[in-house]
C-alpha cells in the first residue's frame, strides 16, 4: 500500500479572493481552537468571546483604551509591514521601541526647559533615529555579512531592555523617587497632550495614521517601493535587475526601526511622562506588532485596522481575566494562536497543496 504524500506546488499568482479566504478561514480556525481552550478551562467560549469584545469595543471606556493601545501597535506594525515586505524579518521592534524611549527620555530630561513646540518634535525625531539606528545593526550585519537578522534583531531586544534597566537603576534614577528605579517626571513641555478624559495621546495617533498612509504610498506608488517589493519577492531577481540589495535592506530596517522608536516616544511622553523599567514601558508591543503586520497581510493601511483589533484584544483580555477569573496567560495564548494560524494560512495562498497517491 502506498502512503499518500502531501505535495506543495508554488502558485504563480495568488488571487485576491484566495488571500481573503485564507485569512478568514485562518481566523475562524484560530477562534475555534481558542474556543476549545476556553472550554477546557471550564468557561463557555461564547461568553468569553462576548466579554472580550465588550471589554475592548463595547463601551466608550473600552474604546478609548483600545485606541490608546493601538497607537504603539500601529506605529511598530506599520513599520514592520515595510520590513517584511522587503523580506527583512525584523523581530526586534520591541528593542527599537525601547531605544526610541531612551533617546526621547534623555532629551526630555536634558532639555526640560525647552518649549513644548520645539522639545516634542525633537523628541520624536530623536526617538525615530534611536529606533532606526538600533535596527541598522541587524540590517548592516545582514546586508554585509549575511548574518540572520531574525536572530540579531531579537537578541538586540534584550540589549535594549538592559540598557533601559541600566539607565533607570543607574544614572537616570530620579531624585524625587525615593531610590526607586524610575526617572523624574518629564517637564510639562515634554508631555504629550491627551484627548479629554482618556489616555489617547493624539499627536502620536495622528503621526501613526499619517505614516501608515505615507508608507502605503511609498510601497504602492514609488520606484523605491517597487524595488522593495521585488527584493522581497525575489532577492536574486532584484540583484540581477541591478537593484541595490544592501541599500534596500538597510532602508526598510531603518524605517521600520524608526517607527518602532516613535512608538517608544509616544509611550514615555504620552502615557508615563517618565522612563521606567522596560516591562513598565511596553508589555510587548513590539512583538504584538508582528501579529499586526501579518494580520494586515503587510498592507500598511490594513495595519491601522489590525492594530485597532489587536489593541481591543489586549484590552478585552483584561476583562476575561477579571470577570471570568481566567489566568493572565490566556490572552497570550490567544495572541499566539492567532499568529500561528494566520502565518499557516499564508502557505495556502503561496502554494497549491495536493495529495498524491
Amino acid at each position: 500500500m502506498k502512503i499518500p504524500r502531501l505535495r506543495f506546488e508554488r502558485r504563480l499568482s495568488s488571487p485576491q479572493w484566495l488571500q481573503v479566504a485564507a485569512l478568514v478561514v485562518s481566523l475562524l480556525l484560530a477562534m475555534l481552537t481558542i474556543a476549545v481552550i476556553f472550554y477546557a478551562l471550564g468557561v463557555n467560549p461564547l461568553i468569553a468571546f462576548q466579554r472580550i469584545f465588550r471589554g475592548g469595543f463595547g463601551s466608550v471606556y473600552g474604546l478609548k483604551e483600545t485606541v490608546t493601545k493601538s497607537i504603539p501597535l500601529m506605529l511598530a506594525g506599520v513599520g514592520l509591514t515595510l520590513a517584511f515586505k522587503g523580506r527583512m524579518y525584523n523581530i526586534g521592534a520591541e528593542g527599537q521601541l525601547f531605544m526610541g524611549a531612551i533617546v526621547a527620555s534623555g532629551l526630555a530630561l536634558e532639555f526640560s526647559e525647552w518649549p513644548a513646540y520645539i522639545l516634542l518634535p525633537v523628541m520624536f525625531l530623536g526617538g525615530f533615529l534611536g529606533g532606526a539606528l538600533w535596527a541598522a545593526i541587524p540590517a548592516i550585519l545582514k546586508a554585509r555579512f549575511r548574518v540572520d537578522e531574525v536572530l540579531t534583531s531579537l537578541m538586540l531586544v534584550y540589549v535594549a531592555s538592559d540598557a533601559v534597566k541600566y539607565l533607570v537603576y543607574g544614572p537616570w534614577r530620579g531624585t524625587d523617587t525615593r531610590g526607586f528605579p524610575i526617572t523624574d517626571e518629564f517637564s510639562a513641555a515634554a508631555q504629550l497632550p491627551r484627548l479629554i478624559d482618556s489616555r489617547i495621546h493624539y499627536p502620536t495617533l495622528i503621526l501613526a495614521l499619517l505614516l501608515a498612509v505615507l508608507i502605503y504610498l511609498l510601497v504602492a506608488r514609488t520606484k523605491l517601493g517597487y524595488e522593495i517589493r521585488v527584493t522581497g519577492e525575489n532577492p536574486d531577481a532584484a540583484r540581477y535587475a541591478g537593484m541595490n540589495y544592501q541599500k534596500i535592506a538597510l532602508l526598510v530596517m531603518l524605517i521600520s526601526g524608526g517607527l518602532a522608536g516613535l512608538a517608544g516616544v509616544g509611550e514615555v511622553a504620552g502615557i508615563h511622562f517618565r522612563m521606567r523599567p522596560p516591562e513598565g514601558i511596553s508589555p510587548g508591543y513590539g512583538f504584538t506588532a508582528i501579529i499586526v503586520a501579518w494580520l494586515a497581510r503587510l498592507n500598511p493601511l490594513a495595519a491601522i485596522l489590525t492594530a485597532f483589533l489587536l489593541g481591543g484584544l489586549l484590552v478585552g483580555g483584561d476583562a476575561i481575566q477579571i470577570a471570568l477569573n481566567l489566568p493572565a496567560a490566556t490572552v497570550h495564548v490567544f495572541n499566539g494562536v492567532i499568529l500561528l494560524f494566520v502565518i499557516a494560512g499564508e502557505l495556502f495562498t503561496r502554494y497549491r497543496i495536493r495529495l498524491e497517491f
Binding site: 536634558e110 523624574d184 544592501q246 483584561d318 493572565a328
Partner: protein, 421 residues
C-alpha cells in the same frame, strides 16, 4: 563611499547615546513623609450587617509564584474566607504599563469599593485613580504617595534579616556569606544591611558579598549567582527573589557534601532545604488587610482620612500597639529555625555589652522579644554604624529614622558590592 555612510551612522548612534546618557537629573526636594498613622482602638469583628464591601487586588506577578504575589493572595483569601460581608477579586501578572486600565475596570465595571495595588510600579496609577474616583478607597503596597482616599502599607523584613544574619554569622565556617539580590531599591538595600549587621554582630570579621540579578523573578539568574558566590568560598546564602531556587542550590551542594546553608524568603521554603535551610522570613499580609478592611467597614477609615495612614508591619505589629506581628521568623510558620541547627547555635557564643556572654540561640530569642515589645527595645539600625568606606554614618546612640530606612542607598561595613550598581 558606503563605508563612510556606515561609519557616520555608528558615530551618530554613539553620539546620541552619549548625549542622552549624560543628561543631568534635575534636583527636586520632597518634604519628608509623615510618620506612620497613630493606632486606632482595636477592632472587634463587626456584626453581620446588610452592607457589603468589595475589595479588589492588582498583582504584579502570577499568584502561582512562591513569593510576593502568592503571599498577597494568601492574605486576600484569608480575609475573603473570614468575613461574610466581604467579597474579593484579583487580577494577576498586571504589567505596570497597564495598571491604570485594570484599576479603572475594577472600579467602574466590577464595582470594587477598595482597590489594593501590590507593586511599587503601580504607585502613580493608583494615585491618579484615587484622584479620579474620590468615593473609592485605594491602598498601595510599598510606596510613599498618599491621598485622602489612598493609604499605603508594607510589611518589612529588616528585623528578620538581622536575626537571620546573627545565625548566618554564627554558622559560617569560611567567614564568607553571599546574598543574591533582586533589584537595587531601598527595600533590598535595607535588608542586605540589616542582614550584614546581624552577621557582624555574631562574627565581626565575616563579609556579605552581594550579586544583583536585576529581576524579582528569575530562577536561572538566581541559580547562576548562587553558584558563582559558592565558587568564591561562600557557605551561607540569603536572597531576595520570588522562587526557592537559592534554597534548592544550597540543598544540592549540601547533599553533595559541601554544606551551603540558606534562608527562605517570603514563603515557607523549609521543604526545599530540609538539611540546609536555617531559617527565613515570612509574612502575613492577611492581618494588615483585615485591619484595613474592618476599619473601612466600621467607618473608621473614610475616603477623607487616609492621607496619613501608612502601615509598616514589623515584629512589634508596627501599626498599633498590641497588633499581631505581620512578619514572622522562620522557614515555615511556627518554626523559627531548623531544629537541626539548634546545637550549633547554642554552641556559638558572643559577648554582648549589655547581655554578657550569650549564645546565638539565646540572643535570637532575646532580640525577638525586644523587637516585639511595643517600645521596640532593640533596633538593628542603631549607631555606631559605618558605611563600606569605614566612615561613621550613624552616631552612637542614634537610630535610623523611618524615612532614612526607606530611602537608604548605601551599604554598611562588611558588605562587598555596590548599592548603586
Amino acid at each position: 563611499m558606503r563605508n563612510i555612510v556606515f561609519r557616520f551612522i555608528l558615530l551618530a548612534l554613539a553620539a546620541i547615546l552619549l548625549v542622552t546618557a549624560c543628561a543631568p537629573k534635575p534636583t527636586v526636594t520632597q518634604p519628608p513623609v509623615a510618620p506612620p498613622a497613630a493606632g486606632q482602638p482595636p477592632v472587634a469583628p463587626p456584626a453581620a450587617e446588610e452592607a457589603k464591601l468589595k475589595a479588589c487586588y492588582i498583582y504584579v506577578g502570577p499568584i502561582g509564584d512562591i513569593g510576593w504575589t502568592n503571599a498577597h493572595d494568601v492574605g486576600r483569601r484569608y480575609v475573603d474566607d473570614k468575613y461574610e460581608w466581604l467579597e474579593t477579586a484579583y487580577a494577576e501578572s498586571v504589567p505596570e504599563a497597564d495598571s491604570d486600565r485594570f484599576i479603572d475596570r475594577f472600579v467602574v465595571e466590577e464595582k470594587c469599593n477598595v482597590v489594593f495595588t501590590t507593586s511599587f510600579g503601580f504607585m502613580d496609577a493608583t494615585l491618579a485613580a484615587a484622584q479620579k474616583y474620590p468615593d473609592n478607597y485605594f491602598f498601595h503596597v510599598s510606596g510613599y504617595k498618599r491621598a485622602p482616599n489612598m493609604g499605603t502599607l508594607m510589611a518589612d523584613f529588616y528585623q528578620l534579616y538581622y536575626l537571620n544574619g546573627l545565625m548566618a554569622g554564627a554558622l559560617t565556617k569560611t567567614g564568607k556569606i553571599g546574598y543574591v539580590a533582586a533589584v537595587p531599591i531601598p527595600e533590598v538595600v535595607r535588608h542586605i544591611n540589616a542582614f550584614t549587621l546581624g552577621v557582624r554582630a555574631a562574627n565581626p570579621d565575616a563579609t556579605v558579598e552581594v550579586r544583583w540579578i536585576f529581576a524579582w523573578y528569575d530562577p536561572a539568574k538566581a541559580r547562576e549567582s548562587a553558584e558563582a558566590l559558592i565558587a568564591t568560598g561562600v557557605d551561607v546564602l540569603a536572597f531576595t527573589e520570588d522562587t526557592a531556587t537559592v534554597v534548592q542550590v544550597g540543598e544540592e551542594y549540601t547533599a553533595k557534601g559541601q554544606p551551603v546553608y540558606t534562608f527562605g524568603h517570603y514563603s515557607p521554603m523549609a521543604q526545599f532545604g530540609p538539611n540546609s535551610l536555617i531559617s527565613g522570613q515570612l509574612v502575613n499580609w492577611g492581618l494588615i488587610y483585615e485591619d484595613i478592611l474592618t476599619k473601612i467597614y466600621l467607618g473608621i477609615y473614610t475616603t477623607e482620612n487616609l492621607e496619613n495612614v501608612d502601615y509598616w508591619g514589623l515584629l512589634s505589629g508596627g501599626w498599633q500597639l498590641g497588633a499581631p506581628s505581620s512578619v514572622e521568623l522562620g522557614g515555615e510558620f511556627g518554626v523559627p529555625f531548623n531544629p537541626a541547627f539548634a546545637d550549633a547555635l547554642k554552641a556559638a557564643k558572643i559577648t554582648d555589652p549589655l547581655l554578657g556572654e550569650i549564645s546565638i540561640y539565646d540572643l535570637v530569642s532575646k532580640r525577638i522579644e525586644q523587637m516585639k515589645d511595643p517600645a521596640v527595645l532593640f533596633e538593628p539600625f542603631s549607631g555606631p554604624i559605618n558605611d563600606q568606606s569605614g566612615a561613621l554614618k550613624v552616631q552612637a546612640g542614634q537610630r535610623l529614622s523611618y524615612f532614612e530606612l526607606n530611602t537608604i542607598d548605601w551599604f554598611v561595613e562588611g558588605v562587598i558590592g555596590s548599592a548603586k550598581p
